[in-house]
Symmetry: C2
Subunit: 629 residues, 2 copies
């Protein structure tokens, strides 16, 4: 088998217009592989601490991985990263679709964007060449129109476009990056960073066939995975109902976030669930590059509300954030809200949390109708929700305040509003209630990007010796752990599954395609890395990559001034749920401090400060991050 991996990183300075190529040594690819880890590697190596997230000194990275573009299901995600304008911490979000593989086929493992263009531009990358082009014509246009204009201008309908949308242009702090109009690098405001650089889009087209160290083995793994897929109940349900399949189970367990985390059950859950979507507005199931799962939705709505299939359809997070979380049971309105977010380039989770926050402030009498531009911000009002999405994206009136995110908005509002601002490190909470899956407590509190639901798999999967546990065993997850357990066993489960998912975040592996959830066995994933790159590798190396990914991001945050004080839970999550609380006994701040310390220790971090020790940095090959005396 030939060994060795070569890759190129495109470097674009928008201030100077200079475009160049980096060819990192193979060891850099092997240690960091792509995505999250390779991004934080470059940020830590190249960027000085404390830069303005929306200033020209913040670097913006688009990172594929060493395995991206291989014709295997679930390996298609890519990362956008920078210092986050939402949190001031490590900003990073992954998206599926086709952009990552296309970038690889266009000749690059990643793009590092520096500086700020004097006027709106987009970046055009084709077959190893790159060009900065004028974007005046598309500035201000919604994503669909912008994509159409770019393809028209370049004369190729197969160009893949990742763009920030009008919300990014307006520097909405949770503006996302969206590719193919429907796959979002959703979180941490990477769209705002793009907008701040006057970079509206990155367009890529590659006609180069990727070569692999052992193409026969790649085919063999693909065949094996495709044989396993039909045996996965989860994969089948994902195809049928998409990620909104989780609405009813979560509601039944009493942990479907409802009305700004006031409740865990929503009386309108059945009206917005995945089954209902399939029965009513679904046009077809879609998928990402080379994936057979087809969990993506394309929906169509006409009438009072409207949604067109080209913008896809709402994922679970969106159904919950614009639905139960805002008390809204109108699926058509949710579908329209989803489309609006994709048109504007807004993160649906943060949008929903911001709007529900405002709704609760109105309910509690902290805000009046006058404060909210006369919009009737009641829980359950779909028109108010839709109106606010537009106002936020355009930074109009009250929308301008919510465009800052709940943390800043609450500070500006005062009057005790902070109590209702559901965020950690400034990032709005995702649609999973840690009170019923306690592992999320650690996941939310310690995630370097702020509250995040894909820092580790949800611990409900490990209640029994079922398929998830079986699939995770090669990674050392050997025994069932209750979702309500919050002691050493949970720390063991969390650290191990966190390593798996963080390896995914660097490799660009989909959390639904690979273990613990469905069809791509972990050991086969290691074999795939070997067959693609030619490296003599193993799952051990991938697990270490996972820990390295977590540690790099934490080191970035420490450099930016974050500390253990930023590993916390919002007050509300210490309260009992009004409905359907599954928590057996009260979870106190002391309980949290205990588990946090155990987690720090498990990671080889200082038990008090949560700073990775010099020895553990050495273990991970990150001794270049040990502060020089």
């Amino acid at each position: 088998m030939p060994t060795g991996y070569n890759g190129k990183i495109l470097r674009v300075n928008l201030t100077t217009g200079v475009i160049s190529e980096d060819t990192p040594p193979e060891i850099v690819y092997r240690m960091y592989m792509g995505g999250s880890a390779l991004s934080s590697y470059f940020l830590l190596k190249e960027q000085k601490p404390g830069v303005d997230p929306l200033g020209p000194e913040n670097k913006l990275l688009f990172m594929s991985s060493v395995i991206s573009g291989a014709p295997l299901p679930g390996l298609t995600r890519y990362t956008v990263a920078a210092r986050s304008p939402l949190t001031g911490a490590f900003g990073e979000a992954e998206a599926g679709g086709f952009f990552g593989p296309e970038l690889k086929m266009a000749g690059f493992d990643g793009v590092i964007v520096e500086g700020r263009a004097a006027k709106p531009v987009y970046l055009w990358i084709k077959d190893g060449k790159a060009e900065i082009r004028d974007a005046s014509r598309i500035w201000g246009k919604d994503t669909g129109e912008a994509e159409r204009l770019i393809r028209e201008e370049l004369g190729d309908n197969r160009i893949r476009v990742a763009q920030c949308g009008p919300a990014g242009e307006k520097l909405v702090r949770y503006a996302c990056v969206v590719n193919e109009l429907k796959h979002a690098n959703g979180r941490t405001g990477m769209g705002a960073v793009m907008g701040s650089k006057n970079l509206r889009a990155v367009a890529a087209r590659g006609t180069t066939r990727l070569s692999f160290a052992d193409p026969e083995k790649v085919r063999e793994i693909g065949k094996k995975v495709l044989e396993i897929l039909p045996t996965s109940v989860l994969a089948q349900n994902l195809k049928k109902f998409g990620t909104p399949m989780f609405v009813m189970p979560l509601n039944n367990s009493g942990i479907l976030p409802t009305r700004n985390f006031q409740k865990g059950q929503f009386e309108g859950a059945e009206a917005i669930c995945g089954e209902k979507m399939t029965d009513t507005i679904l046009v077809k199931s879609e998928g990402c590059y080379a994936c057979a799962v087809q969990c993506k939705r394309a929906v169509k709505v006409e009438g009072k509300y409207n949604a067109t299939p080209e913008y896809g359809g709402p994922e679970y997070e969106t159904v919950a954030s614009l639905g139960s979380y805002c008390g809204i049971d109108n699926l058509a309105a949710i579908a329209q809200g989803n489309e609006m977010c994709n048109r504007y380039g807004l993160d649906t989770i943060s949008v929903g949390v911001c709007i529900a926050f405002a709704m609760e402030l109105v309910e509690k009498g902290i805000l009046t109708r006058k404060d909210t531009d006369e919009i009737d911000l009641r829980f359950g009002n779909p028109d108010a929700m839709l109106a606010m999405i537009g106002k936020i994206a355009r930074r109009e009136g009250f929308g301008n305040l919510l465009a800052e995110g709940v943390q800043i908005a609450a500070q500006k509002i005062g009057k005790g509003a902070e109590k209702y601002a559901m965020h950690i490190k400034g990032q709005e909470l995702p649609m999973h209630d840690p009170r019923g899956k306690q592992g999320l407590t650690l996941s939310y509190a310690t995630s370097p990007t702020g509250a995040d639901h894909i820092e580790a798999p949800h611990d409900t999967s490990f209640l029994t010796d079922g398929p998830a546990l079986k699939a995770a065993k090669p990674a050392g997850v050997l025994e069932p752990v209750s979702a309500l357990e919050m002691g050493p066993q949970k720390v063991r489960l969390f650290t191990h599954t966190q390593a798996i998912w963080n390896a995914f975040n660097s490799l660009g592996v989909c959390n639904f395609a690979a273990a613990p959830y469905t069809a791509f066995p972990l050991v086969s994933l290691a074999e795939a890395v070997e067959a693609i790159t030619g490296w003599n590798t193993s799952l051990y190396e991938l697990m270490e990559l996972g820990e390295r990914t977590v540690t790099l991001a934490r080191m970035f945050n420490i450099r930016e001034g974050l500390s253990s004080k930023d590993d916390y839970l919002p007050d509300r999550l210490y309260e009992s749920l009004e409905a359907g609380t599954p928590r057996e006994k009260k979870f106190t701040r002391e309980d949290f401090a205990k588990i946090l310390r155990l987690y720090y220790e498990a990671m080889g971090w200082d038990p008090q400060t949560g700073v990775p020790t010099q020895g553990r940095l050495s273990f991970l090959g990150l001794d270049w991050l040990i502060p020089k005396k």
Copy 2:
């Protein structure tokens, strides 16, 4: 593939004569697998701290592993463990040969021996049944005679016998356990523990065919390994010259321990090296169960000195300890010394270190000829060396003092003798000088069993991107590291290779048959565990087993009162070597303190005390070791 692993542990109480069987749950086998880890698991679970190592409360364990007995090269070693009479710490030593697989085929993964027999006995295990038998007839006999008598008494020449020899009966603190007269569980005095129980031997015979979850896959792996073997230069040299092949390279590098670590080059090296042995006294190359490497020696010497092939031949450690280390260049005498140690059941390393210690004391005028029973203990005197082996084994005169080990002997002698006692935690140093392979500094100082050369592979292997490095890459060892480097990169190398070798110590894998050295690829080893047990496992699990193995032993030692003070180097190792010193700059106590702290941190231990944190115990699934409040 069928899953599940069942195994039985034989429990023998010699005080009461009660014999019983344990059937640990599968999770115990999966977490601990065998050997070192499974032994410390039982000791920590069952044995109270502080028992007299030579008293009836000390339990003695014979531990095979879940993969032992599979027809694959290099998986044949088994462990004998107990609290050590030499160190007071975790006592554990592995041996190859045929005993481990035989025990498995006789129906047991391990034997836990408790109590003390009123009179000499041996244990007879056949096909799932066990019996305590009278050993009066063999008590006091040398190993060859004892083995012959046992086989004769039981009427089966294929019985495998592991025994402590007369030195164990006499409670020599470094008495070993020897099987087939030539394979020794050499270190930490396990033979003395056996002797203290009046247990002279364990005889085993199994006619049961072992079954494997996926026998076809086991065959396939075996075939693959046998294809790789002939391509390994090391494996070929091991067959030709045995482990004494290392004499000349070490001498050439100036780190062949000579005259009690006074020098690193021996003028008589060529006369005792592996090539010389092959040219002169070698009768044949032999091997362990199912192994094709055949690195074991069988030698024959007649004349002034004598050695017979049935006792094998000296390994590298023995050639050095009885040779260069005592300044002796007579290979025939070394061969006789080796046979005497195997007949008496003495650890050749500790014997040589004790004798050379006495030789230096004579040289320095601390001991006189009168003190040494008129034996002419000069460096270079083979007859004095051979005489002392006999006196030590029989605890005669001056031999009775050296039978206590250099630590106790030096304390009793006083007059500054401690300066010349080359031990750590009470165990004599092996035949490798850390001054030329600095990784051994950590290996010797922190090994839970006291100074030990197989705590981790020697870092000289990782000087270049050669075969050792290539083989270790799946375990995260990615870059060449100089043997003289003593910073973060060495900590990374050491912790990773330590995990590999400690996994071997639990699985019973030979350090020469598997990576980093020769033919059994690490990932194939994980596949072998899967094929044999039916577990969906990976190299990740084996690496974690390695860390768990190290941690369990450390927890045992902490319980026995050891602390970071016991992680040290003898003073002499801070001095420059008189000849051939390869160390570039002086290695100071401050340098050692720094690297030790980095190592503690890398392991997730308290940086000051070296105690594993509660969080890291949780990570490893060892939270049952967290002290109860």
